[in-house]
Amino acid sequence: MTVKVIAVNTFKEAVRDRILYLLLFFAAAAILLSRVLAMFTVGDRTKIIKDVGLASISIFGALMAILIGTGLVYKEIEKRTIFTLISKPIRRSEFLLGKYFGLVLTLAVMLASMGLIFLALILIQTGALEGRLLLAILFIFFELVLLTAVAILFSCFSTPILSSLFSLGFYVIGHFSWSLETLVKKARPGLGKTLLRLLTAVLPDLENFNIRTEVVHGLPLPASLLLYSAAYGIVYAAFVLTVAVLIFRRRDFI
């Protein structure tokens, strides 16, 4: 209940952020640009549009999550708006979760907006819509659910700029962690190998949420894989949020 009140207020706050609309604008531009790009390529143009469009949604969604998520909690402390909130009969965890779900809600709305532009373009291009495109967007959403948790975690103890860098690092490494695994296989046994293995265990594999290739090229997507990926995102996000709450709970607001 308290979480909901704070989430709604956070949503109100986030949708006033100009960065959001700047990113939305660029996302729309990128999606539309894919149409132009397709004209200059040989082969299946629809595939190019789908590929570039979905990639744009994913990247700009991630940027939104990071740039807004890392400022949310920090700003509350910096501007001291948090003083009157924490002095009310609410738990700090409720505050943090409220902020989190408020941002998740914001991102859902933004994804819907980008998705709408994208689907409209596809509809114009092919005259038909594919349910699997929605599935791809849904999995982008799962990724953002996780990324938002990470951004909020960092913003519990560091400045927006540093948090953004950390979160961006998390995002980039998360998409290349599969190559880390190949590295582990090739590495000689020893301390280095153990460290690498530890790293791959802790770092998420964000490619789990990337079903764009399968969707675009019409490859099969087993339900078990989808379920696994969705559960993976939710469990990982819950874990990150728990760590964030543990840090946040002991913090002095000075």
């Binding site: 308290t2 006033r16 708006t81 009157t84 909130l85 924490i86 009969p89 609410i90």
Partner: protein, 305 residues
Amino acid sequence: MSTILSIDGLRKTFSQGFIPRRKEILKGISFAVSEGEIFGYLGPNGSGKTTTIKCVLGLIFPDAGRIELCGRPHLDPRSKEKVGFLPENPYFYDYLTAREFLDFYGQLFRLAPDVRRERIPALLKLVDMERAADLSLRKFSRGMLQRIGLAQALINEPSLVVLDEPLGGLDPIGRKEIRDIILRLRSEGKTVVLSSHILQDIEMICDRVAILVDGRILSQGRLTDLVSEKILFTEIVLSGVGDRELAALGEPLSAQAGRTLLKVYDEARIQAVLDLVRDRKGNVHSLLPRTQTLEDLFVGMVRPR
């Protein structure tokens, strides 16, 4: 009367600077506030008033000590159901209007919509902010923020209201209005704790005070007990006696038109002065005991010894 807030042995250390150096801000603070009183928390800048209040509200965690709010440990969220708080230099979500702002805080207390609809206009009226009800807080002046902040602190009809420098940034009329509101809260049976370094305000409305200097409470008690405890000195204006003779009995200050102003610190010496004047066939023009004001008490404590 029962205790609504008790603080026992509170200590807090901050680490400061690039190379962290530990600095003890609160050095073992204890006091208790009874139900229905206005309690003044007094101290010079940087003495630790805000730090104490932040500990009470759970914004920072004490290193040691116990705090009880409304009969519960202060970190229990339920202890804050009946507490209102106005921070020093309040900042609020500036994109909300005054009405939305109060509504948001009402929701945090889980007040039903009809309760909020009834209470918000009443509070806006109380702090005289009705005309700014639909203005966004971004456009508020400091004094207006202070007022709406006070309204926010009262949204849950608290039994204990904690106000950190509630009169800061207000003009004389504004100060009087807020003082009146605070007195009215007491008449409604609420308890008010307010911090300030402005003695006049505290002297006018507080029942009891604690004086905090450099992280320690140097004095606390009923205001009337604290300040009437001592007669500081007696001022005697007299003529016809030489300064040299008077110096043995007190402190001759100024001499104008043959009259000397003598400060006598020791009550027992007043009689000796009068006897001396009679001996020398001089005159006593006035004799004025100067009782202590809160300001004297305060300045005496704060001045480094």
